[in-house]
Amino acid sequence: MQTPQGHQHPLTSMISEINAIFAEIGFVFAEGPEAETEHYNFNMLNVPKDHPSRDMQDTFWFKDKDVSEPMVLRTQTSPVQVRYMEKHEPPIKIIIPGKVFRNESTDATHEAQFYQLEGLCIDKGIHLGHLKGTLEYFFSKFFSGKTEVRFRPSFFPFVEPGVEIDMKLLESDSKLAGKWIEVMGAGMVHPNVLKGCNIDPAIYSGFAFGIGIDRLGVMKYGIEDVRDSYTGDLRFVNQF
């Protein structure tokens, strides 16, 4: 028997595809550590200690004896936004695909480890209309069919205004087509976050969004159990 071609994991092929889609409109692929400081994972993102907004993300902490300042397995890829803003001047356009961790019980739609895609765009005059257009562009390419996006009010500590994003695939044979699906959170970067990175919110504004890549896989390929991605089971991988 001849050795056939191997199969690429759907998460990395989606990341490559996402990168290619965003590269066309100038978004740079940024990255940062998975073991992150409390400072970057929370404080710099306007999520203070002992604040109810911390409840939104259950966190894995490293032991005090191992670290010189409090560290976590990052709960979001947003700390990379901060790290990047600290080192770059606007205009800034980045995507951050990467692994994140939440201390939550797992089921077919939740894993304690998963991949997130965040995007950040900062320049003069960036507003919610740019966010909407960028996401419509992305979803239309990623799901190979014209896609509409709508906003609903929401709250995330690092954005203001914050919005929940629903998408609707229009002309498509996909099962998803024709209905509104809640897909992600987004908003305009909170002025405290910008100031913390020495960006003047009176001059610059920006949008940020975050979506689970595993969830994109559920929508794109019909993956039924997101936990299958992390078992190394080739009965899963070899279907891709």
Binding site: Q8, T12, A23, F29, P52, Y230, T231
Partner: protein, 645 residues
């Protein structure tokens, strides 16, 4: 927050929209609605109040106010707009030890009440909220809390000692080692004795300085109401939200009260709640209010904010006039105290602690005006300022490894043993983070080998590129590792594995144009990719992506597969596809894969050997089920004039 539709009517009157309209308005202008159900004859709307609005909207009045804002109507009745005038009393003395932890504490005294069941209308509303009615006084405290968002507590005044003719209530931090006894929790019969660490805020009985409850979290048995209670003291206070939150989290006691206090309802609220509860209690339990004591030590800060038309439009992408912006902001109940040609200065409604900075108001304008009015601006093509080195080179590595038959896996970042342990692991076998990929890859090889037939592959070849963690002297660090694993034999490692591994490793190094330091052992190679990536030239552009194939994933069966081989002679010219078609048709739906694994021609005849894989999605297959199927297959072969070998 459960919201009872008919309760909203108390505030909105006839302008209250029907339940479905309420759901729609909240969804697109304020909060997500998790569902609507009928409970105890009431329509109950489950509203997911956002964290920034949990200070004012964990209340019926708050939700009603929100609906009035969204629909641009006035509340028919607004309890927070009616000024409070309650006569003071010197019957209660309040000593606050720390004004930051407790900026305000109010207590009212009502004499001559009769404890009994609440009237039916009140019981019905509490039941719809999922509460069990207890007695008229306790029910009243809950009722007013749900109405206005202010938690309250009632004591039996005759069981509360007096000193100098006054009831003495103290608020202070706990002392280390002190204990407090809390009321039994749901389902339990025994009270809970809590040992205190010094960070908890306590309500104490002043004459003895003994704890009677955990401030803002839970009360104790002290001065508990009973069927003969005649005189009562009612507490409504404001506590530091972080203090309450810390205590509630540490002890795992999340109550309706602690949930509200940790979201900081307004400091202005307690007298309004006192007024409403006094009115309610005197109506349903009789008695007379003696008066109110109000220790208000640290006043709430006024929030005054400048909102510019330009900034509103700059963030929302709208083109609103200042008059329009002003009109929308006024709908929230905020007050415009100054105005110039392009901006307004606004004082927030006192119950809205979330309206502090200009962006908070910009959000208000956006959602009240309607986020659907925001028009998409399509992005333009633009060149990339930077190429991600890791992404560029790992894409290349993947491509060459796939060509060599390696499939890509991703494995857990958690493991059972190691040196870097988490404080709060999900499970005992996931309490450490991985420091290498090797163990996981070995486990993947072990687990997958039995599936080779099912997958139609001769051996198992996998790789992973992922983060592993290392402990440094002062911290936890990480790097990107790459690992390749091969298994050619079912019983474990064989030296043949290393040859395939070596080829894979060589291909990786060739495509990178750099050496990787591999640790190869028992069919698994691992190297540090980060150190290599740092030495590589930065590329100008990503490689074009290979064309993506259409994938439609199917959940795989967890039942084992059974393999059967069949070899047969056919006349020259009969191609394998034709033979396969016959086999597939005869084998039926349990056949999930067929692989041609041998072909040779002799004396104008060709021999084909196929492996047939059977699997069910419902059960484990046995010979008893497969043997007759194979009979059918052989019969089909014979019928074609082919000869089984």
């Amino acid at each position: 927050m459960k919201v009872i539709h008919s309760w909203l009517k108390d505030y909105l009157g006839e302008s209250l929209p029907d339940v479905n309209k309420v759901e729609e308005l909240l969804t697109f202008h304020a909060f997500e609605v998790d569902g609507i159900e009928e409970v105890a004859g009431e329509s109950v709307i489950d509203v997911d109040v956002l964290p920034n609005r949990s200070s004012d909207c964990l209340s019926m009045r708050g939700i009603a106010r929100e609906l009035a804002t969204i629909t641009d109507t006035a509340l028919a009745r607004d309890p927070l707009a009616e000024l409070v005038s309650l006569s003071p009393t010197d019957k209660v003395s309040i000593q606050i030890a720390d004004s930051a932890a407790c900026p305000r504490f109010t207590a009212s005294v009502i004499t001559g009440v009769t404890i009994k069941e609440s009237p039916e209308w009140l019981q019905k509303r509490l039941r719809a909220m999922g509460q069990r009615p207890i007695n008229n006084i306790v029910d009243a405290t809950n009722y007013v809390m749900y109405s206005l968002g202010q938690p309250m507590h009632a004591y039996d005044a005759d069981l509360f000692p007096q000193m100098n003719g006054q009831w003495q209530i103290g608020i202070r931090f706990a002392v280390v080692g002190e204990t407090v006894s809390l009321l039994a929790e749901g389902g339990k019969t025994e009270d809970r004795i809590i040992e205190l660490t010094g960070t908890e805020l306590l309500i104490v009985e002043g004459s003895t300085d003994s704890p009677v409850g955990l401030a803002g979290v839970k009360g104790g048995r002290f001065a508990e109401l009973h069927s003969g209670t005649k005189n009562i003291i009612i507490e409504a206070a404001h506590f530091d939200p972080q203090v309450i939150r810390k205590t509630a989290r540490r002890l795992g006691i999340l109550t309706d009260a602690s949930k509200r206090f940790e979201n900081e309802p307004s400091r202005e609220l307690p007298p309004y709640a006192q007024r409403d509860i006094i009115k309610l209690i005197t109506e349903i339990a009789g008695g007379e209010c003696v008066g109110l004591v109000d220790e208000y030590l640290v006043k709430q800060k006024e929030n005054i904010t400048n909102v510019s038309r330009i900034n509103v439009n700059r963030l929302l992408g709208l083109n609103l006039s200042l008059a329009e912006v002003k009109k929308i902001i006024l709908r929230t109940g905020a007050e415009v105290i100054e105005e110039d040609s392009d901006s307004i200065t606004v004082r927030s409604p006192w119950e809205r602690s979330d309206l502090v900075i200009e962006e908070d108001y910009i959000e208000e304008v956006g959602r009240i005006y309607g986020l659907h009015n925001i028009v998409s601006v399509m992005p333009e093509a633009q060149s990339l300022a930077e190429i991600n080195v890791k992404q560029y080179y790992t894409e290349r590595i993947r491509r060459v490894l796939l060509e060599q038959g390696f499939s890509e896996v991703m494995t857990s970042s958690f493991q059972k043993k190691g040196t870097i342990q988490l404080q709060n692991a999900l499970a005992s076998d996931k309490s450490y983070v991985r420091e290498s990929l090797r163990k996981n890859i070995t486990a993947v090889l072990d687990a997958n080998f039995i599936h080779t037939d099912l997958l139609g592959i001769p051996d198992i070849r996998v790789f992973e590129i992922g983060t592993v963690f290392i402990k440094t002297e002062t911290s936890v660090s990480e790097y990107i590792a790459i690992s390749l694993g091969v298994r050619t034999k079912g019983n474990g490692y064989s030296p043949k594995d290393d040859v395939i591994i070596k080829n894979g490793c060589t291909a990786v190094e060739k495509i990178l144009g750099a050496e990787v330091v591999w640790q190869t052992e028992k069919g698994v190679a691992e190297g540090n990719l980060d150190v290599v990536l740092k030495t590589l030239p930065v590329p100008d552009a990503y490689d074009a992506l290979p064309a993506l194939s259409q994938v439609s994933y199917k959940a795989f069966s967890l039942y084992p597969a059974i393999a059967r081989d069949i070899a047969l002679w056919v006349d020259d010219g009969v191609v394998a596809e034709v033979v396969a078609e016959t086999l597939v048709a005869a084998a039926g739906p349990l056949l999930v894969r067929h692989t041609l694994f041998d072909t040779f021609t002799k004396d104008a005849r060709t021999s084909y050997a196929f492996r047939l894989i059977f699997q069910s999605t419902e059960r484990t297959l046995t010979d008893i089920e497969i043997n007759p199927i194979m009979e059918t297959v052989y019969q089909a072969v014979t019928a074609k004039g082919w000869e089984g070998r």
